[in-house]
Every structure is written in structure tokens, then in C-alpha cells.
């Protein structure tokens, strides 16, 4: 059986229509959701748990005081330095998990959270290939200021 006959015999028209509709529905729904996504996120970020918020405020204040550079506590500064040492054992573009691993085996405390801190502070930045680089200037700025703070 050929031609239009074959198409209608196999219920082709409705299959095609249904198919096209579903594909559009799916992608339209998705594009709608993600177009709302960042608003939702902003909304959620209005309710961080108290501690976090306090920390944030403090950080922000420090931030302002330092002209956009986050302030580290002595301990944070300390581990920033330790991480620097570890990072130097690796290539300029290093793997974050390996750094984490090194931090763990060298027994730095709270390796995960500290690493996170460095990431948030922008001292460690992702490159285009899933590897990471160390922003030396920013690092110096922060660590020195932290020194002065003391």
C-alpha cells in the first residue's frame, strides 16, 4: 500500500500531529519553566537559614569595607595558605577533586567547606575545560588584608 492511502491506513496523520504537539508542548513547558527559574531562585535566596544570613551580612559588610574583596578570618586565611601550597604542587589548570583529595590526605580541617569558601571568594576559578585556576592577585589581596585585620 502506498501514498496517502498508506498514511491514513496506518493512522499516520494523527500520529504526526500528536508527535509534533508533544514535542512542542515539552519544549515550550520547559522553556517556560526555566524562564521563571532564576526568579524562583532569587525568591528562595530570600530565606537562607539564620546563621548563613548572619554570616552573609558580616561578609557583605566586610566586603563593602574592603571594596568588593571578601574578608577571611584568621583560620580561613590559614587554610587558604595551605590550599595555596597544595595547588602549587599541581599544574596551573588543576582538577578540583584532586585538590580536595590532597587537602583530605594532608588532613586540612573542613576541606570541603574551605574549598567552597575559596570558590565563592573567587580565588579558585573554573576554566573552560572542567579544570580550575588560582587567582593569585585576589588571593594575595585577601590574605594580606586578613593579616592587617588581625
Amino acid at each position: 500500500m502506498y501514498g496517502l492511502e498508506a498514511i491514513s491506513a496506518n493512522n499516520g496523520w494523527s500520529i504526526a500531529v500528536v508527535g509534533i504537539t508533544i514535542v512542542f508542548t515539552g519544549l515550550v513547558m520547559l522553556s517556560f519553566c526555566i524562564s521563571r527559574l532564576h526568579r524562583v531562585i532569587d525568591f528562595l535566596e530570600k530565606f537562607p537559614d539564620r546563621k548563613e544570613r548572619a554570616a552573609k551580612k558580616k561578609a557583605d559588610k566586610a566586603m563593602k569595607k574592603n571594596g568588593g574583596v571578601p574578608a577571611f578570618t584568621g583560620a580561613e586565611k590559614e587554610s587558604a595558605k595551605q590550599y595555596r601550597l597544595l595547588a602549587r604542587t599541581m599544574a596551573d589548570h588543576f582538577s578540583l577533586p584532586r585538590l580536595l583529595h590532597l587537602a583530605e590526605i594532608s588532613g586540612l580541617d573542613k576541606p570541603h567547606s574551605r574549598l567552597n569558601m575559596l570558590l565563592e571568594a573567587g580565588i579558585i576559578n573554573p576554566d573552560t575545560e572542567g579544570y580550575y585556576t588560582w587567582d593569585l592577585d585576589l588571593y594575595r589581596k585577601i590574605v594580606d588584608r586578613a593579616d592587617k585585620d588581625k
Binding site: A6, G12, I34, S95, P126, G130
Partner: protein, 375 residues
């Protein structure tokens, strides 16, 4: 001893050889040539091409050499294709190397990825009209998805006998995207349209990137559960990538895993094109319909983009519509090329990636729909 010599000679390729093997071997060599010399999708054409050589060495049966003999090494490796295991693994890797930022920055471009999939269903109708069975017609239509793994996955589920021709058609046309698309793009767009510049996409937060694969997966698979194996792995891989802490898994997914799957997938798919089963009228029909579906898909994408411009206040460059067919990243690069021909300073690639990747999601959904409607 003479007998033994003669007997052995009767089992050599020189004796068993059939003109169809020669034809296929030549096609295989052309594939390899296009991959290496012309840089058309080398990662796919070279393995498939060499696979064609492997599959078309004239062999005597009974020893367990042929890909269709069920104790042969090739058969074991081919199982990953027939069972549909390789394509999801490839998607895992693709997810682990794809960056959806541009999509997140301008979600509306995603709809272009849907438009281009219309080609799939029009081709499906065409295939029915040419007398193919509905399941075969679906597998043929998906060629227009311009997405190798999706095409192979659906074909393995609906019409295993056609894996060879459909995979070869899909990959050939994907490789030929730089040849097929430009004329259509120029035909359907005015110079003025091709000159449209896109505004810089907004900065996308890490949080958005992490949440996207989860939402995309849940939404699409609730709508089309049959897209699960492909979309599930794609989004899983992308989550591994975006969730910094699982970087090492993402790294393995986008290197060892996808490369291994690609090597075995390409080689065995190529080997499945044995002359006698491949060089048939059906295959010719499939190639014709495949070309048709690529052109239609491109056209649909372009036209839909022009329609969208009627409603959008900040116009989009309709060339982006052509990137909706997926064929990542070639069709996006073609958009960049054609755009730059008009205005060398107009930088469309980044924007073209949005419909490009959403085209991947789109064809996975389409595959899911067709699969579930065929059973």
C-alpha cells in the same frame, strides 16, 4: 595437500568475494577519507568507515566471524547497539560536556529546537507513503533528528534490521550538514534577516545550571516517559558536570566512557552494513528520505524562526532556526559561518548553541513519542 590448499583458497576473501562487498569497502574508504581529509565528524565517520571494511571482508560462516553469527566477537560488541546500551552511554558523556548556559539565558530559543523536529514527522509520513511499515517509517523519520545515538536507539527498538542503513544515513547527512544546510538557509532568509545581531545573553548562575538538568529531565520524561533512557542519561551527565563536587565522574563520563562507547558503536554499526543486507532498494529509499528529512527539518527551523519574529519585539536571527536540527555542534557552526559571510563581525555561534542543544532534547522526546506510539 593440493586439496587442502584448494579448500583453504575456497575460504579466502578472494574466492568468496562479491561485488557488493567491494562497493561497501569503497564506501567505507570514502567515509574514512571524508572524516580524515575533510574533517566531517571524524570521530564518527572513521570508526563507521573502518567498521564497513571489517563487516565486508567476505567470510565463510560457521566459524563465528560475522557480526550476525551469535558467538562472534563482533556479535558480542554489537549487542550494545541492538540492546540500546551504547546510545545512552554516549548521551551520558554528551551531557557531561554540554554547557546549557546559552539556553538558560534565552529559553525562548529552545522552541526552535522543537520546530526543527517537525521534519521527523513529515519524513515519517513520507516513509509511510513510500510503503514502509509504520515502525520502519518511525525509524526513518528520526534521521531528521540529526542525532546519531537517538536514531540508532529508536531503530534498535523498532526496526533492528534497518540499523545499518539508518545509522549510515543519519551520520552521513550529519557529516554533510555544512554542505546541505547553507543553500537552504540562504534560500529561505533575506540578507537583512541574516544580518540581525543577537544581544549578549545574560549571565547564568551556577545554581540555575545545576537545577536545569533536574527540571528538564522530570518535565520531559513525565510528558514522554519513553524518552527516559536517552534524556535520563543526558541530564544525569550534565548534573555530574555542573555539580562541581562530582567533577571526577563527569570527567570519566566525557572521556573514557563516551570514547569507548563511540569506538564500539561506530565500529559495529559500520560492520553491520554487510553488502548483501545493506545494498537493497530499501536502503536507497532510506537515503532519499533521509536527505529529504534533513532539508525539511532545516526549513522548518528557519521558517518557524521567521514566524516567531512576527511576535517578538527583539528579533532573533532566523538562521538560528537551522541549528534546531541538532547535529551538535556542526549545524551551530554552519549558522556561524553563513552569518559571518554577510557580516564577519556578527558572532552567532554561542546563540546557535541554544536551539542546537534543545534540538537534542527535542529529538529524544520525538523518539520517545514514536516508540510508545508504535508498540
Amino acid at each position: 595437500m593440493e586439496n587442502l590448499f584448494f579448500e583453504f583458497f575456497q575460504n579466502t576473501g578472494f574466492f568468496l568475494c562479491d561485488y557488493r562487498n567491494i562497493v561497501m569497502i569503497l564506501i567505507g574508504i570514502i567515509f574514512i577519507y571524508l572524516g580524515i581529509a575533510k574533517h566531517y565528524e571524524p570521530l564518527l565517520l572513521v570508526p563507521i568507515g573502518f567498521g564497513m571494511l571489517i563487516g565486508n571482508i567476505p567470510i565463510f560462516h560457521g566459524l563465528g566471524l560475522g557480526i550476525y553469527e551469535d558467538n562472534s566477537v563482533l556479535h558480542y560488541l554489537y549487542f550494545g547497539v541492538t540492546s540500546g546500551i551504547y546510545p545512552p552511554l554516549v548521551f551520558l558523556g554528551i551531557g557531561a560536556m554540554t554547557d546549557f548556559s546559552t539556553l538558560l539565558a534565552r529559553p525562548v530559543l529552545m522552541i526552535l529546537g522543537a520546530a526543527a523536529q517537525t521534519g521527523i514527522f513529515l519524513t515519517f509520513l513520507g516513509a509511510l507513503a513510500l510503503g514502509f511499515e509504520p515502525n520502519q517509517a518511525s525509524a526513518i523519520g528520526i534521521i531528521g533528528g540529526a542525532d546519531g545515538p537517538t536514531a540508532i536507539f529508536l531503530t534498535a527498538k523498532l526496526a533492528p534490521a534497518l540499523i545499518g542503513p539508518i545509522a549510515v544515513a543519519a551520520y552521513s547527512y550529519m557529516a554533510l550538514v555544512p554542505v546541505i544546510q547553507p543553500p537552504i538557509m540562504k534560500l529561505l532568509t533575506s540578507r537583512k534577516e541574516r544580518l540581525i545581531r543577537m544581544e549578549e545573553p545574560r549571565e547564568v548562575s551556577k545554581r540555575e545550571k545545576m537545577i536545569f538538568p533536574i527540571i528538564a529531565f522530570l518535565l520531559c520524561c513525565f510528558l514522554a516517559p519513553a524518552a527516559l533512557p536517552l534524556l535520563g542519561m543526558l541530564c544525569f551527565g550534565n548534573l555530574l558536570k555542573e555539580a562541581v563536587v562530582t567533577e571526577r565522574l563527569a570527567h570519566t563520563a566525557r572521556n573514557a566512557i563516551i570514547d569507548t562507547a563511540t569506538i564500539l558503536l561506530g565500529m559495529t554499526v559500520g560492520a553491520s552494513t554487510q553488502g548483501d543486507v545493506f545494498l537493497t532498494g530499501q536502503s536507497v529509499g532510506i537515503f532519499v528520505l533521509g536527505a529529504f528529512s534533513f532539508c525539511i527539518a532545516t526549513a522548518c527551523g528557519l521558517i518557524f524562526a521567521k514566524i516567531m519574529n512576527l511576535f517578538l519585539k527583539t528579533k532573533i536571527n532566523p538562521l538560528l532556526g537551522a541549528a534546531g536540527v541538532s547535529a551538535v555542534p556542526d549545524s551551530a557552526r554552519v549558522v556561524q559561518m553563513v552569518g559571518q559571510e554577510e557580516d564577519p563581525t556578527n558572532f552567532l555561534l554561542m546563540h546557535a548553541m541554544a536551539p542546537n542543544v534543545s534540538g537534542v532534547i527535542g529529538s529524544a522526546i520525538a523518539a520517545g513519542v514514536l516508540w510508545s506510539l508504535m508498540v
